[in-house]
Subunit: 332 residues, 2 copies
Amino acid sequence: MKTQQIVLAARPKGMPDADTFRFEDIEIPDLQQGEVLLKGLYYSVDPYMRGRMNDKKSYSAPFEIDKPIFGGVVAEVEDANGTDLEKGDLVTGMLPWSKKIVSAEKKLKKIDASFAPPSYYLSILGMTGLTAYFGLIHIGKPKDGETVVVSGAAGAVGIVVGQIAKIHGCRVIGIAGSDEKIEMLKGKFGFDGGINYKTTPDMKKAIAKACPDGVDIYFDNVGGEVSDAVISNINFHARIPLCGQISLYNDTEIPTGPRVQPTMVTHSVLMQGFIVSKYSDQFPEGMAQLEEWVKEEKLKFTETIIEGFDQLPEAMLSLFSGGNTGKMVVKA
Amino acid sequence: MKTQQIVLAARPKGMPDADTFRFEDIEIPDLQQGEVLLKGLYYSVDPYMRGRMNDKKSYSAPFEIDKPIFGGVVAEVEDANGTDLEKGDLVTGMLPWSKKIVSAEKKLKKIDASFAPPSYYLSILGMTGLTAYFGLIHIGKPKDGETVVVSGAAGAVGIVVGQIAKIHGCRVIGIAGSDEKIEMLKGKFGFDGGINYKTTPDMKKAIAKACPDGVDIYFDNVGGEVSDAVISNINFHARIPLCGQISLYNDTEIPTGPRVQPTMVTHSVLMQGFIVSKYSDQFPEGMAQLEEWVKEEKLKFTETIIEGFDQLPEAMLSLFSGGNTGKMVVKA
């Protein structure tokens, strides 16, 4: 029996394009003891995956040329060989971009679809939610009455960060790329304000106006000029969790900009790059808290769901032009 | 009775010059109850004082125009009015650049000159030593076998940082601006290696060669291109205590350079600006440790002593051209 997978055809220089990906038909191997056959239901596309397309040391190993792209997948068990998992079970794991997937049982986590839409396990009840939770709580250390600015605020992580900051009594300003996103942040997600960076000529001034007491925590998903503007409004003893730098991921040269160190010295600022796996020993605690907040409806969420396995490359590219609101997911 | 003081005549644009300072003769006021008359012996000149010449919010308030410059001073009590301090006692405090000084007793700390040269209380047994101690221990968190790079290594803070890192079992590379300084760091102070940034054409390569296992801690006193070169060799989970940015203090525009955030995200790097006063509740512990190391000769020190109260402005400027080895002090 055959299936279709998507491999990395060539490492992109700058923005990925049609030459970056290749669809391949492959033979599905027989199941070995302890393996299951999966049908992919939802595939996660995330900004960090762009970094894995480079042949460069980073926190996750580079994808290999001519090998499938890997990412978060929610899948249904279709067949099993000597496993506790049974036909019909839903699982999640880091899996190849393939319509059908053979995987060892131990690489999978069974999920409970009665509690939330299964795709949520790729986002708010998965790495995205934990990234927001640990980055904000452990690095940002939000205190009642502080001002929090989130860039990429309408993205999968940003939406969760803003809501958790509100739960902690902070004033929250979101930066996003359309008026619709800003309205959604303020309406559905309870942000205190928002700035559309695409239509705001003087971001530094706009942030100063939106944050009359300055910025205590800047949760940074995007980097670049948006961050320059926020940092020029930063308070003494501010904390800057660095979650991502999506505005720079497709740069082919090292980007330049105003140096941040002088401000960090004069204002005693902390800045920390992090990956969520650093907190893996605390995942159960974090996940329990996220589930509780979702149940209590203190934490709401939204997804952009693209239909069709063949849309995966396009969905990936669309992340970099802000094509998603909340989590970008492809439904097979 | 009259004395001479040095006031801030004008806020410098860029490098301070002759117009920045003005010498004035003033009348010494009568002593009030609880006050002492002091004769200044040693005056501290420090890079951070440049920042106080600007009219800009920073961790220490700006100096006022037509008011004396303030800094660390070691002085001898010449007269006292109802104080525990007596004629002949040596004290230290944040005091004006004035030959004779009237001060409230409560603003002064009595020092023990039997234990170390009195000027050491402006440096290794004062704020400089504590800055090195807390910045390295609390932010850098040195671990046995790690590689530590110190910029401004032959400066008052850098010399102490390198030696404390050695005490913690680290490999230490110092960056300084002359071959004599490098030799001194390796010879007298036990650094494992050193790089003269003024004569090294490719600093990135030189650091890679000096640090074959990468850089785990970068204690940054200087900023600018030296820091760019170190950061391009930074390890995963590295820590960067930001103590100073002396290479940029006289810039009139916001300096630009390669953005650090992308590397900080991919390598989970922590960077923290700090001032020593953050740790003031732990000063007794830190001071006791520094004294112990000095007594055991695990911690050595050196000073550049300029003679003459009238040399204070010149000594201050000389900091920015690397005119000091170790602590720069003016002896009245």
